[in-house]
């Protein structure tokens, strides 16, 4: 005989403000098999949990329904409490009275009635729950870090230093990411490369880290602790072991006019190239799209000049099949290129550049060796305008969100300019200065107070060129929208930070969620910021949303700890919510007729046909069997099984049927 305990939570006033919790508890208390129905202000609090634990013993409960917030929030909490109270944790269900009821409806009788329906449904479900035992699966103690920017580097080093193997995948020829392109960093103005390159070298030399550059994820299968990842190592047309990195080939390559990606198109590179002098690994790759030999079948100058004969024109891509226990996604971000703003003339006027281009101009290793010079004529700009929010907070043409880093880097850019061009004038058109962070606002104040950067609150309407000057038309909204027109020599657009190209594709391969802007989605905005909704896959850095360096590094270390914690056990326990094919005694063995319909629907190849043999070895029966280690519990096989021979633990046919009936009928 079922004895169900129901606990209605007020969640402070979050639920009780619109739902009459007393009435819910009272009505539910009258249901058959409900041994206890009570209410409490905070079920998730310590006393709340104790209430459950004691009630289990006192009332000899066979099932518990906690009527509170979303199970996605607190199901683990209450299942653990039940376990501690001596009840199998899978005999506990949650009724979602907060997110799905009190928060979305007005206070009235219908809302309370709905709450009762929701609780009753879970009561009927839990009656049919069965005690399940967790499944144990082994853990492969090798992590994969996707992306070799500062976040990936930090994560890889932290995991490697815990003694675990790390495989790092980077799609470009060198690690370093956007940080390697930056000149100086806020709020300290220390040289970006000076602090980054030692970390890059450490990655290359770490005994626990295997680095694959020019490589991309091809496919991901499996689950936490047991991923199978295929990685495509794109052909570099080079024998990396033979190459000494002398660089002779790069100086002799006849193709020299390819826009340099690292310099944001502000410099040129040959077809065989090392992206930048401090690249790791410091070995060239051949860019097949521009190489004369690949295009026309003739040239091979690099092969001729190479002293160690390391060039391999016929090298194929290589597919690596890797066994991985956990994955850290650190694929970073991109900037929204400014050509979607025709009124700002980016692309039409050479002296209008974006923030990353300015970083290269200001960088000592950049195309101008750090001198701020106009791209059009190489002159020093005497009057420079920085435009913040060029794409951010602009749902019409750009993106709705705040890109977070622009206020700070724009202040930095204006400062760097003033430090290099003392007599020059710097103007910043801004919306709101968002400088929360340690020493951040002080940094912006320094730009204004010490470097006399002219901050104007207002958005620029249009820019046009005349006589080699850029006419920037805006207003000063603090002066009642008074028109401001500046004749500038150069304009820098602080363009929005957006998801990196290919993020959506990668998210789909990894089966993790992403938001409408294609940024990877965390499992919980506050409490699980580095986890994804797929167990064993973690996030680090700006692939989640635009972040500055300190935030990226902290999150990367956070992700590393999650991986290390996972690897601290030799096996992990999984929720036993898996599908099973029924078994009966011979001669039937199972009601399954082995039609095989379930096999192709399984995304995890967890279904196989089992053969039952008679004593003489003759196959007398075939039936599907599900590998509980591989099954992830989606239940698609259950829905396609015509003879209803498959069921899903935790969401059994009986349970979901009972839910439908209970939801629609008063008892």
């Amino acid at each position: 005989m079922a004895r169900i305990g129901v606990f209605v939570c007020h969640c402070g006033e979050n639920i009780s403000a619109t739902v009459d919790c007393g009435k819910v508890a009272e009505t539910i208390g009258k249901l058959k098999h409900v041994a206890l129905s009570t209410e409490y202000k905070y079920m998730c609090s310590d006393p709340g949990q104790t209430l459950i634990k004691e009630a289990i013993k006192e009332h000899n409960l066979t099932g518990v329904v906690v009527s509170a917030c979303s199970p996605r929030m607190h199901e683990p909490t209450f299942r653990k409490a039940c376990a501690e109270g001596g009840l199998n944790p899978f005999l506990c269900e949650m009724a979602n009275l907060r997110e799905h009821c009190s928060w979305v409806h007005e206070k009235n009788e219908l809302t309370t009635e709905k709450a009762i329906d929701i609780v009753r449904t879970q009561v009927e479900k839990v009656k049919l729950n069965s005690a399940l035992q967790p499944i144990k699966v082994p853990v492969t103690k090798t992590a994969m870090v996707i992306g070799g920017g500062i976040a990936g580097i930090q994560s890889a080093l932290d995991i490697a230093n815990c003694g675990h193997k790390v495989i790092m995948i980077e799609r470009s020829p060198s690690i370093g990411g956007h940080m390697s392109q930056l000149s100086e960093t806020f709020p300290t103005l220390d040289c970006s490369q000076c602090i980054l390159t030692p970390r890059m070298v450490e990655v290359a030399q770490h005994p626990n880290i295997t680095l694959y550059t020019y490589a991309e994820v091809e496919s991901v299968e499996g689950f936490i602790g047991n991923f199978k990842v295929k990685v495509r190592k794109k052909a570099k047309s080079l024998d990396e072991k033979a190459c000494t990195g002398c660089g002779l080939c790069t100086t002799k390559c006849p193709q020299k006019k390819i826009p340099n990606e690292f310099e944001q198109g502000m410099g040129m590179r040959p077809a065989i190239y090392v992206p930048f002098p401090q690249a790791v690994p410091n070995r060239p790759v051949i860019d097949k799209e521009h190489c004369t030999y690949y295009l026309k079948g003739k040239c091979k100058i690099c092969e001729i000049v190479c002293p160690t004969k390391a060039i391999r024109f016929d090298q194929p891509d290589e597919i690596l099949e890797l066994e991985i226990g956990a994955i850290v996604v650190a694929t970073g971000f991109d900037i929204k290129h400014a050509d979607f703003f025709p009124e700002y003339g980016y692309g039409r006027y050479k002296d209008i550049i974006d923030g990353l281009q300015f970083e290269r101009l200001a960088s000592a290793s950049g195309p101008t060796s750090g001198a701020i010079l106009r791209p059009s004529d190489g002159k020093v700009p005497k009057n420079i305008v920085f435009i913040a929010c060029a794409g951010s907070r602009d749902p019409a043409k750009g993106i709705a969100y705040c890109s977070k880093i622009c206020c700070m880097y724009t202040a930095k850019h204006a400062m760097l300019y003033k430090h290099k061009v003392h007599e020059g004038k710097a103007h910043v058109f801004y919306m709101d200065i968002r400088s929360g962070g340690k020493n951040y606002d002080e940094f912006v104040r320094r730009a204004i107070e010490e470097d006399h950067v002219n901050y104007i609150r207002g958005r620029v309407s249009t820019i046009f060129e005349r006589d080699g000057k850029l006419f920037v038309k805006g207003v000063d909204t603090l002066l009642g929208a008074m028109p401001v027109e500046i004749e500038a020599d150069m304009v820098v657009l602080a363009t929005a930070g957006v998801a990196n190209s290919g993020a959506e594709d990668l998210a789909q391969k990894l089966h993790v969620s992403y938001d409408s802007h294609k940024f990877f989605a965390e499992a919980h905005p506050k409490l699980k910021p580095v986890e994804t909704n797929t167990a064993g896959i973690f996030l680090a850095g700006a692939c989640q949303n635009p972040k500055d360096i300190p935030d990226s590094v902290s999150q990367a270390s956070g992700a590393a700890v999650k991986v290390a914690a996972l690897f601290s056990q030799s096996e992990l326990t999984r929720e036993p919510l898996v599908a099973v094919v029924n078994r009966t005694s011979p001669p039937l063995y199972s009601t399954c007729v082995a039609c095989g319909m379930c096999k192709p629907v399984c995304p995890y190849q967890a279904i196989e046909l089992e053969e039952f043999k008679a004593r003489d070895g003759r196959v007398v029966k075939k039936a599907a069997r599900i590998n509980e280690g591989l099954c992830q519990g989606c239940g698609t096989c259950v829905a396609v099984c015509r003879s209803k021979s498959i069921d899903l633990l935790g969401y059994s046919n009986n349970q979901v049927y009972a839910e439908v009936v209970a939801l629609l009928n008063d008892y």
């Binding site: 007005e106 009124e343 929010c389 907070r393 602009d394 749902p395 019409a396 043409k397 750009g398 919306m431 609150r457 207002g458 958005r459 620029v460 309407s461 249009t462 038309k473 805006g474 207003v475 000063d476 909204t477 009642g480 929208a481 028109p483 401001v484």
Partner: protein, 187 residues
């Protein structure tokens, strides 16, 4: 039931604009891009972004300022503001509504006299002929605005270029036109 419907209906201009034009004045975060691009902002007593700010305060005093402003009549409906607004606030439609409210509440700015006179003459012209009779428009406008000497130098050249007709080019079904005007005039 949307979140915003929580609020009681607002009895002010911003409320009227939301209800009748579908423009949420609260969306404006005062970036000023509209004012920076507006061709007539420098003539206005309140540039477009300031009109929005006044409306955002939702006070009777500021609503009154808006309805009595010259700005709402100076807006040429060139739509530059809308095409550049990051929040896609339909300022031109909002201005149409404000102009109509300004007239209903009899708060029309005196400096807008000529502009309204012209619009009225324009509509008068098509009310009776169906099509714009440019000469008739000019004569009627002069009568309404009392700018009798305006553009007298233009006429001879227009006539010599064949650009000015002396007889209106009328549609056949003038009765239809009259009915349309009657039905759409304020009840």
């Amino acid at each position: 039931m949307s979140h915003s419907e929580h609020h009681t209906e607002r009895n002010n201009l911003a409320g009227g604009i939301e209800k009748n034009v579908g423009v949420l004045t609260q969306k404006c975060y005062q970036c000023g891009k509209c004012s920076a691009g507006c061709p007539v902002a420098d003539q206005m007593d309140f540039p477009p972004s300031m009109v929005l700010r006044l409306l955002q305060t939702e006070t009777p005093e500021n609503d009154d300022k808006v309805l009595r402003s010259h700005s709402i009549w100076l807006c040429i409906a060139c739509e530059m503001c809308l095409s550049r607004c990051p929040m896609e606030i339909d300022i031109p439609s909002m201005m149409d509504y404000l102009r109509q409210s300004s007239r209903t509440e009899k708060k029309v700015n005196k400096k807008a006299k000529n502009i309204i006179a012209f619009h009225k003459s324009f509509l008068n012209s098509i009310r009776y002929t169906g099509r714009l009779f440019e000469l008739g428009l000019i004569i009627d406008y002069k009568r309404q605005s009392l700018n009798l000497m305006q553009d007298v130098s233009l006429a001879p050249k227009m006539i010599s270029r064949g650009k000015l007709h002396f007889i209106p080019n009328m549609i056949k079904d003038t009765g239809h036109m009259a009915r349309i005007f009657k039905k759409t005039s304020k009840k």
